[in-house]
Symmetry: C2
Subunit: 347 residues, 2 copies
């Protein structure tokens, strides 16, 4: 009954984040004072009981948007559907407890493929200590998985995107850009496979980056070691859409600017090799590639020594807001970082 009439603003016109802002306006502010944090962080935060918060996050993986079945085995897809949500829980400095899943299944999917999918889901649940407590399965034209994860965190341990201050160190865990490098390798090998009968893909040379794409590992290990070390980030987000968009989220919500050092970005040797082979820039993989599921956080300079064990890298510093979000290049030049990470409504 709705038609394309005069009032047809395409979603690309406002973008993914513009759309979220508009929907937030329609929903209005919550009057429920048990809701500590609603829409706008990696997960919602709700008071659970004395001293404990519950966190809730939802993330969907949709065929043709987030994955292609031709390069994503079903077991890996199942694992990833849980892992991306666990990463959002880690980004609140919280721990996952329960999951529910809604799966939409086309006719081209067999019962055996569903069993592979669920074996990956179970593997991820076992790895990160979750229990799958419910689900909904329906038919559809596109395979899609929507997972909700509920976690928990002590009130004094929760960390939001807001909270960074000028002078805090901007830090990132692991390495960046490798998941995107893995995607490039998988797509190239698929094309080669389609062109040559009997072609055996050579993924070994790039096993690390391919693994980063197919089986992302959310950094629950850091949430645990940080707590043991008495370290609490000042602001925290996971790197799902690329560093460029995540640093902007933290800066906007913290009321800060940031200055990142290009030569400080942690890049894996295989990521650099893939970039060379594709005649591309590994730093753009880090900024715009997405899906690394590492943690970007703000740390007080004095606190950094508590966690300086090689698992995290200082990539810059938070600044006054009027300095914007910038990157210093290898020759000392400053460039603005655009806020566009990977956006699903582009193009």
């Amino acid at each position: 009954m709705e038609m394309k009439g005069d009032d047809f603003t395409p979603i690309q016109g406002v973008g993914e984040f513009g759309l979220i802002d508009r929907m937030h306006t329609v929903l209005g502010e919550t009057a429920d004072d048990e809701v500590i944090c609603g829409i706008g962080d990696d997960a919602a935060v709700i008071r659970k009981s004395d001293g404990m918060y519950q966190v809730v996050t939802v993330d969907a993986l949709i065929e043709g948007v987030h994955f292609e079945r031709s390069i994503m085995p079903m077991r890996h897809l199942g694992f990833k559907s849980i892992a991306v949500n666990v990463s959002d829980v880690a980004a609140m400095n919280a721990r996952p407890r329960y999951a529910v899943i809604s799966v939409a299944v086309p006719h081209s999917i067999s019962v055996e493929m569903m069993e592979s999918l669920y074996s990956g889901i179970r593997q991820a649940c076992d790895a990160y200590g979750l229990t799958m407590v419910g689900g909904d399965t329906t038919a559809a034209r596109q395979l899609s998985l929507s997972v909700t994860v509920i976690g928990e965190v002590e009130e004094r341990q929760v960390v939001f995107r807001r909270g960074a201050s000028p002078g805090d160190l901007a830090c990132v865990s692991g390495d960046l850009g490798s998941a995107y490098a893995g995607l490039k390798v998988l797509i190239k090998e698929r094309i080669a496979m389609q062109e040559a009968v009997g072609f055996e893909p050579d993924l070994e040379r790039f096993d690390y980056v391919v693994g980063r794409q197919l089986t992302p590992k959310p950094r629950m290990d850091l949430v645990n070691t940080w707590e043991a070390a008495g370290f609490k980030p000042r602001a925290l987000i996971d790197v799902s859409d690329g560093l460029s968009s995540e640093i902007h989220h933290v800066c906007r919500q913290s009321g800060c600017g940031a200055l990142l050092r290009r030569d400080a970005f942690p890049l894996h040797e295989q990521t650099e090799r893939v970039a060379t082979e594709f005649e591309d820039d590994p730093v753009s993989f880090a900024l715009y590639g997405g899906e690394d599921y590492e943690l970007l956080f703000a740390a007080r300079p004095d606190d950094f020594a508590l966690i300086d064990d090689g698992s995290v890298t200082v990539i810059g510093i938070f600044t006054e807001p009027d300095e914007g979000v910038r990157m210093q290049g290898e020759e000392g030049e400053f460039v603005s970082i655009s806020p566009d990470g990977f956006q699903h409504f582009d193009g």
Copy 2:
């Protein structure tokens, strides 16, 4: 990388409920003793704090499977996406508190249509006392909404599907089959609209059944009046897939049979009129139509007087399990009720 090979069992071969059983087996039993009830009821039940349980449910609405955009205005779709989940919460005798939503949006959807969708979501959240705390929005070829609702209930008030005993009354709220009657009217009017330019649909004659299809009202009112009356059902489920499948769920999980009386089914006058016009049987609308979002429950005969205010109807009695699930017709004959409610993987 998965191919259709020797091991390709189509999902239609095992059916929606067979598939759920297989996936349950892959996931295994939970070791978490905070999980009171996992997969297999209307909602999962988790211990929240002393004396309180949390309930969690997820339900998706997918274009072309659960709705057609041509007969489902966006605002109604938004309302319904919340309502169907609230109904699952009501089916645990619980109250909804929070929701998260994952929306997959094709390019043919405008920002204005999304605003209509969210205004319906907000309307339902306001009506049933929920707060929308988070969401995920992505592109897709099919419009789909997956909503997770978290609710709560006092430990002593929770009701499961299991719990009916032989001799308990089988009761249902409101009337049955009207949502399906509404769907038939909407589809017929759409065809007429497509065939005649300038055709104005005449939905007034069938306003009640059309409303039941477009804006289902989960029976939170009964959860509240039952508590005030000191009534607690022995077993409880919502009627989303049709009475035939729901009565089987209750019987299977309670270890009972049931004998329903065909002439006791509550049917709205408009439902009977639609059935007559379509030369169909309104009782089959009630048994197999689905989407009524009423409550089916077991009540001790002595308790029924507490709630006998016209809002609920006794449609039969629970029996010993070896009597199966049967219906007594108008001439006294007994027929078996098949367990097939509306199943999305049929045909």
